[in-house]
C-alpha cells in the first residue's frame, strides 16, 4: 500500500493543478462563480503546500524522482527524471504563491470568461511548476510550451478591447518562434549524444571541448528561454503583452514567468554545458547582454506614462540585472539573483495590482489622465509609494537585499564597477514608479500633457476589468496586495530565508554532484559553507544610495519643466527617440530583432572559441 516518500511530492505538485483545472472545466457549466474561485484557490494553495514541502525535503541536496519507475541501471535509463533542488523548489513556491495572490485579487469581481480563466491559470501554474522541477531537457521544453500556450490565451482574455488580440498575438508569435529554435537546439544535442536528461547530457559532454555543434546547440536551446526572459533585443513582445493582459496575469508574467527564462539559462548551462563552454566566454556574453537589457529597460521605463508599460519595462531592466548576476557564475551571485527575483516579484506584483485598481475605478492607465484623481487618503497611495521605494532598493526590502548580495558577488568576481550599474538601474526604475505614484495619488508636479498621437498597443483601455467600475476597493484585492508587499519585505528581514537560499545556490551550481545524485543515487556531499548572504554595511549604504537617488530623480522630473534644449541634450533626446521608435508594435520588426539577437549571441559565444 501507499508509503509516502519525498520523491512523490514532485509529480504530485505537477499533477494536482492539472486535475483541478479539468475539474473546474467540467463543473463550470453548473457551478456558481464562487465554486470556481474556491476550487482554483484550493488547488493553488495545495500546490503551494507541496512545493514548500519539497523545499524542506531538498534540504540536503536534491529530491530525485524517475517517472514511471524507470530507475537508471548503470547510469542509463529510458525514463524522464525530476530533479528538485532547493532553488528549483523555491521557484515553484514563488509561482504557486503568486498564483494564490492573483486568484485572491480576481476573487468574485474580475471578469473571468466563463471559468476559462480559472482553468487556464491552473494549467499555467502546472506548466511553471513542471518547468522548474524537471531534470530533462525535452520535458522542460514540454512544460515550457504548456506555460506559453496558457499565458498567450490569458494575455488576450479581454477580447472586447480592440488591442488585446494584437498584444497577445505578438506575445504568442515571438515566443513560439523562440521555442522552435530551442527545439532545433535540442535536436542537435540529441543527434550528438542520444540523451535528453540534464545529467546524462552533462556526463556525455563532460570535458568535450566546445565545437560548432555544442555552441550551436547552446545558442539555439537558450534562445527560447531568453526570449521568455525578455533579454534585449528579444524583449519587444513583453510590454505589448503586459499592456493588454488582465492584471492578475501581469503579476504572474512579470513576477515569475519572465524570470523562469533566466532560471532555465542557468540550469541548462550549469548542468549541461559548464565543462565544455568555458566560463569566461559565457560570463562576457551575458554581462554584455545583461547591460544592454538593463539600459534599454530603464530608459524605456522612465519614458512611459502608460502605467502597465512602465512596470513592464522596469521588469526588463531588472531582468538585465538578473542576467548580470547569473553571468558572475558564482554561488553567491546566484543566491543574490534568487533573492532579488523573490523580492522583485512581491513588489512588482503589488504594483501591478495597485495599477489594476486604478483601471477598475477610472478606466484608464495613463499617468496624465489619472493625475491627482485618487487622493492621498486611499490605502493604495502609501502602498504604491512604499513599493516604489522598495523597487529602488530601500533596505530592508527584499529587492534591496538581493541587490546588495549580487553587488557583493560582483565585487568578489572582479567587477566592482557593476555596483554603479545596479544602483543606477534600480534608482531609475524606482524613480519612474515613484514619479507616477506622486502624480497619480498626490497630484505633485505639473500635469503631463495629452497623450501623443503615436499609437501603442493597449494604450487606451476602455473598460474596467471588473464587471462594473468599482466604487470602493474590495477587501480581497487589498489583502492580495498586502500579502505581496509583506512577502517582499519578509525576504529582506528574515535571515533564515537568505541563508537557505545561499545554501541552495551551492547545490545549484554543483554539476558533478547533480550527475551523481540523479543517475547513481549518490547522496549529495555537503557544499562548502557559502559566504554570508546577508546585509553588509556596504550593501545597506548602496541600497540607501539608490533610494535617495531615486527620490532625487523623481523630484527633478516632477518639478523641473522641459529645459532649454542645448545641443548635447537635443542630440541625446534624438538618440533616445530612435530607441523608442524601435518599440513599434510591428511583429516583423520583432522577428527581425529576434534573429539579430540570436546572431549576436552566436557571435559572442562562437567567435572567441574559433580555433
Amino acid at each position: 500500500m501507499y508509503r509516502g516518500s519525498a520523491s512523490d511530492l514532485a509529480p504530485l505538485a505537477v499533477a494536482l493543478p492539472i486535475v483541478m483545472a479539468c475539474v473546474v472545466l467540467v463543473v463550470q457549466r453548473w457551478a456558481s462563480r464562487r465554486l470556481a474561485d474556491l476550487l482554483a484557490m484550493v488547488a493553488a494553495v495545495a500546490a503551494l503546500g507541496l512545493c514548500v514541502a519539497l523545499v524542506a525535503a531538498a534540504k540536503d541536496g536534491r529530491v530525485v524522482t524517475w517517472s514511471g519507475g524507470w530507475e537508471p541501471r548503470g547510469g542509463r535509463s529510458v525514463g524522464v527524471v525530476l530533479v528538485v533542488d532547493q532553488l528549483g523548489a523555491g521557484f515553484a513556491c514563488l509561482a504557486a504563491g503568486l498564483t494564490c495572490c492573483a486568484l485572491l485579487y480576481s476573487w468574485r469581481y474580475l471578469e473571468t470568461a466563463h471559468g476559462h480563466y480559472h482553468a487556464l491559470m491552473l494549467l499555467f501554474l502546472a506548466g511553471m511548476i513542471g518547468f522548474v522541477l524537471t531534470g530533462d531537457l525535452f520535458n522542460m521544453f514540454v512544460f515550457f510550451e504548456l506555460m506559453g500556450v496558457s499565458a498567450f490565451a490569458l494575455a488576450g482574455l479581454h477580447i472586447e478591447e480592440p488591442d488585446s488580440v494584437q498584444g497577445s498575438l505578438n506575445f504568442a508569435l515571438i515566443n513560439s518562434f523562440g521555442a522552435y529554435l530551442s527545439l532545433m537546439g535540442i535536436g542537435l544535442l540529441y543527434a550528438r549524444t542520444g540523451q535528453l536528461g540534464f545529467a546524462q547530457l552533462g556526463a556525455k559532454l563532460a570535458g568535450h571541448p566546445a565545437d560548432g555543434l555544442i555552441v550551436g546547440a547552446f545558442v539555439l536551446v537558450t534562445i527560447g528561454f531568453l526570449v521568455k526572459a525578455a533579454m534585449a533585443p528579444m524583449h519587444f513582445w513583453l510590454a505589448d503583452a503586459h499592456a493588454v493582459a488582465p492584471t492578475p496575469v501581469c503579476v504572474l508574467m512579470s513576477g515569475v514567468m519572465v524570470e523562469m527564462g533566466v532560471y532555465a539559462l542557468a540550469r541548462v548551462y550549469l548542468t549541461v554545458f559548464a565543462t565544455s563552454i568555458p566560463a569566461p566566454v559565457v560570463q562576457r556574453t551575458f554581462l554584455t547582454m545583461g547591460l544592454l537589457t538593463a539600459a534599454v529597460g530603464s530608459l524605456m521605463c522612465f519614458a512611459q506614462r502608460h502605467l502597465k508599460r512602465l512596470l513592464a519595462y522596469s521588469t526588463i531592466a531588472h531582468v538585465g540585472l538578473f542576467l548580470i548576476g547569473f553571468a558572475l557564475l558564482r554561488p553567491d551571485g546566484l543566491a543574490g539573483v534568487a533573492l532579488y527575483v523573490v523580492g522583485h516579484a512581491g513588489v512588482k506584483g503589488a504594483l501591478f495590482l495597485l495599477v489594476g485598481l486604478l483601471l477598475d475605478r477610472f478606466q484608464t492607465l495613463d499617468e496624465g489622465k489619472l493625475f491627482g484623481r485618487v487622493g492621498g487618503r486611499h490605502p493604495a497611495c502609501w502602498m504604491f509609494l512604499v513599493a516604489a521605494l522598495a523597487l529602488a532598493g530601500l533596505p530592508p526590502s527584499g529587492p534591496g537585499l538581493g541587490k546588495a548580495i549580487t553587488e557583493e558577488a560582483a565585487s568578489a568576481a572582479g567587477y566592482p564597477w557593476l555596483s554603479v550599474v545596479f544602483v543606477l538601474v534600480s534608482a531609475v526604475t524606482g524613480a519612474a514608479v515613484l514619479r507616477a505614484g506622486l502624480r497619480v495619488f498626490l497630484g505633485q508636479g505639473h500635469r503631463p500633457g495629452p497623450i501623443e498621437p503615436a499609437h501603442q498597443i493597449g494604450a487606451e483601455p476602455k473598460k474596467p476589468e471588473t464587471e462594473h467600475p468599482l466604487r470602493r476597493t474590495p477587501s480581497t484585492m487589498l489583502v492580495a496586495i498586502g500579502v505581496l508587499l509583506a512577502g517582499s519585505v519578509v525576504v529582506g528581514v528574515v535571515p533564515a530565508l537568505a541563508q537557505a537560499v545561499g545554501h541552495g545556490a551551492g547545490f545549484f551550481g554543483d554539476q558533478a554532484g547533480y550527475v551523481d545524485q540523479a543517475l547513481f543515487a549518490v547522496p549529495a556531499t555537503p557544499v562548502p559553507a557559502s559566504p554570508a548572504t546577508w546585509w553588509s554595511r556596504s550593501g545597506l549604504l548602496l541600497g540607501a544610495a539608490s533610494t535617495v537617488l531615486a527620490v532625487i530623480i523623481a523630484g527633478i522630473s516632477l518639478h523641473v519643466g522641459s529645459p532649454e534644449r542645448g545641443r548635447f541634450l537635443s542630440r541625446m533626446i534624438a538618440g533616445f527617440e530612435l530607441v523608442r521608435r524601435l518599440h513599434s508594435g510591428h511583429i516583423g520588426d520583432y522577428v527581425a530583432w529576434l534573429i539579430f539577437g540570436a546572431a549576436m549571441l552566436a557571435a559572442l559565444i562562437g567567435l572567441p572559441l574559433l580555433p
Binding site: 499533477a15 524507470w70 487556464l120 512544460f143 490565451a153 542520444g194 535528453l196 510591428h586 522577428v591 562562437g606
Partner: protein, 250 residues
Amino acid sequence: MSRRARLLVFALGAAGLAVMFAFAVAGMPPFGTSEHPYRDLAVPAALQHRTANVVSSVNFDQRALDTLGEEVILLSSVIGTAALLRPTRRESRRPATRGGRVSDSTTLLSYLLLPVTVLIGLDVVVHGHLTPGGGFQGGVVLATAVHLLYLAGRYESLQRLRPLSWYVWTEGLSAASFAVLGLVGLALGSGFLANIAPLGSFQSLLSAGTVPILNIVTGAAVAGGGVVLLAQFFAQAIGTTQLPTRRSTS
C-alpha cells in the same frame, strides 16, 4: 522601422545564424551509423513491457510524462481558443443559413465515409500499442469524421450531433484521467505514470499494460479537443454576426 531597415536587420541576423548553423550541422554524426544509444535502451524496455509498437512504448510508458504534458498543452490551447473566440457582447448567434450548394456526389460520399472514418479512427486508437498509430492520430481521425457532416452540407446536423459541452467534458475528463492514472501508479508505490496494469501476452490486443488504456484516453481527449477547436472557428466564421456598432471615437 522602415521596410528596408527591417530587412537589413533581418538579413544580418539570418546570415550570422546561418553560419552558426552550418558549423553545428558539420559537427553532427554521419547519417546511417549503427550507434543509437537511446534505441539500444528503448527497444529492450518496450519488449520487457510486452509492447509491440516501440514508439507507443516510448510515448505512453517510458516517457509518459512528456505525453501528459503534450496532452495538457492541447487541453490548454482548446480552452484558450474557446476563451478568445467566445462571442463578445457585440456579436450575436445567428441561425445558419442554407447558403451555398453542395453537389450530390460530395454529399453521398461524405455520408458513406462517415461510418468508415469513425471505424478507422477507433481502430487506430485501439491498436496503438501494436501497429503504427495511437491516441493522437486516431483522435484526429475521429474529430475529422464528425466534420464530414459539414462537408455534406449539413451544418445543422453537425450542430445537432455536436452538443459541444459533451465534447468539452470528454476532453477535460480524459485529460484528468491521464493524470489520475499516473497518480494511481504513485499510490501503488510503482512511480508516477508507471505501467501498472497486467502486461498480457506480446502482440495481442490485451497487452502492454497501461499503454492501450492511455492511448484510448488520449484518443478521447484529442477527438473531443479537435471537435471543440473546430467548432469555435466554425461558430466564429458561420454562426455569429458582428452587430453594427455605433463607431464611437475609437
